[in-house]
């Protein structure tokens, strides 16, 4: 075998070194279905866009009100309600999951009953029940700390929080339970063998590992919650949807304001999706040897490989 050592300065007419069998050059399979699907999809999309453009919708109203003070305030209230409700939901969910898995039959039955009730009734109905609970409890009386009429205690905000948070806790409980059960029994044994108590084992060993299983569905729950907050407009709480509705009725552009609200919800859920991705990455540490690249890193890598010329031609 003769190989030209002086490759770097080698003249162009030097034959390329033999590199095993010839690389395969075959005509790739044509995927006609893809072109057909693309054409159909574009056609349908164009028809939809055309229909909406022809409709009696005042598109100009949307950008006009997009950053309206009331809309921005509504967005803030929606986010606040989402965050606090989810905090209640997650804390309650972990507590309920631990209770359900507890060896104490009383606590596990209580948790079972709670989940049965709150998962079994619509959240909108629960919101109305909270709102009207003054019919059952005329006063709220916490002894020397607090005493008031139920109707003035149960503000729309508190109704919304309780309604959404307590309902969410039931769903989160099932997610957390699945997470806790996913942790290998050997972990609990090892922790117990070191003299750690049940509570410490749960807090320091089991829950951190369960998080990897709990976080992805919790992200979905947050996104779901963000949208479900629109229901609390029914109990007089002013958030994004309610403000949009109000503006719509006053300005004579109700449908436009629904589109506006939809756009804001989309923006917020998109941002949450990105956050969830990084949260999942964080909880995956220690479970795999190397973390997958972030989308940003992927884009960077793709751009670099695009910039590199593929052949001498």
């Amino acid at each position: 075998m003769s190989v030209d050592i002086d490759k770097a300065d080698g003249p162009a007419d030097v034959p390329p070194p033999k590199a095993g069998p010839e690389a395969i050059k075959a005509i790739p399979v044509r995927h006609y279905g893809r072109y057909v699907a693309a054409v159909v999809a574009i056609g349908v999309l164009a028809a939809i866009v055309y229909a909406f453009a022809q409709g009696k919708i005042n598109w100009g109203a949307i950008p006009e009100y997009f950053f309206d003070d009331r809309i921005l305030k509504g967005v803030g209230q929606t986010l606040l309600l989402t965050v606090i409700s989810m905090v209640i939901g997650v804390a309650g969910g972990i507590l309920l999951a631990v209770m359900r898995l507890s060896r104490n039959p009383v606590t596990s039955s209580i948790a079972w009953f709670y989940i049965w009730f709150f998962r079994g009734t619509p959240v909108l109905v629960q919101l109305f029940v909270w709102f009207n609970l003054g019919l059952v409890f005329e006063y709220i009386n916490l002894g020397p700390i607090y005493k008031d009429y139920w109707s003035s205690f149960m503000t729309p905000f508190l109704t919304a929080l309780l309604g959404l948070g307590l309902n969410e806790a039931a769903y989160m409980a099932e997610i957390c339970r699945a997470g806790l059960l996913s942790v290998d029994e050997g972990q609990t044994e090892a922790s117990h063998a070191l003299g750690m108590s049940h509570a410490k084992t749960l807090r320091r060993i089991v829950i951190p590992q369960a998080m990897r299983v709990i976080v992805p569905p919790t992200g979905n729950e947050v996104i779901n919650m963000l949208k479900t907050t629109s229901l609390v407009s029914a109990v007089q709480f002013y958030e994004l949807f309610r403000y949009a509705q109000d503006i719509g009725q006053n300005s004579g552009a109700p449908v436009e304001m629904y589109f506006l609200a939809a756009a804001w919800y989309l923006v917020m859920t998109s941002i949450l999706s990105v956050g969830q991705y990084y949260l999942e990455r964080y909880y995956a540490r220690g479970s795999s040897r190397s973390l997958p690249p972030t989308p940003f890193q992927k884009i960077k890598a793709n751009l670099l490989s695009l910039g590199r010329p593929k052949g001498a031609a």
């Binding site: 090892a190 117990h192 063998a193 070191l194 003299g195 750690m196 320091r204 590992q209 220690g286 040897r289």
Partner: protein, 255 residues
Amino acid sequence: MTTNAMVKSEGVHKSFGHVEVLKGIDLEVKEGEVFCLIGPSGSGKSTFLRCINHLEKINAGRLYVDGELVGYRQKGDKLYELKDSEVALKRRDIGMVFQRFNLFPHLTALENVMEAPVQVKRQSRAQARQRANELLERVGLADKAGNYPSQLSGGQQQRVAIARALAMDPKLMLFDEPTSALDPELVGDVLDVMRDLAESGMTMIVVTHEMGFAREVGDSLVFMDGGVVVESGHPRDVLTNPQHERTQSFLSKVL
């Protein structure tokens, strides 16, 4: 060697449902001794080991560690079950090493070793870290302190697990087939650490299939089969000159 019994078992029985796994185990492990348990799988040796730190409850008999009853308190002729916190207190003094390592995957090697001293013994983090580093050095893994378990080989994981158990300064170490899940070339490192530990005078109960280790390091050896002790004695005697037919046939297969 003193003659104090670290572990004393009197007629210990254990059943899982209708299956009786231990059918009356009588044995005594002296302080400072390396006590090897061998036998075919299903013979009850791992179960017995788990009874010693009360990961399993025994159904009959008496089991003592360092003169105290395991899992119960005796007052007069009545037995009282210990509370979880009291059981946990006793487990502090008994280190355990598992076949599947059971390192905490969300913590680094160093954090694995520090966890129990900080959480259970309320040591300061600085103090625990220093001790953890010393222990990792002792098992030859000083340079792996920052690695997560998934970044370590099986043999390295098992040595971290040994360091983790030692961090609680136990007076008794239980080894449940510590090398059975390892690639053959990684077994030696783990056995070296155990040999070193034995030389330092630690009382060790080792469930193992490593007959070479049992012969060289063991002070006593028990052959179990079908939930009973078939034969016991000095490892050299039992391994080279087994008296019972069952022991002979087992050893002829593994040696």
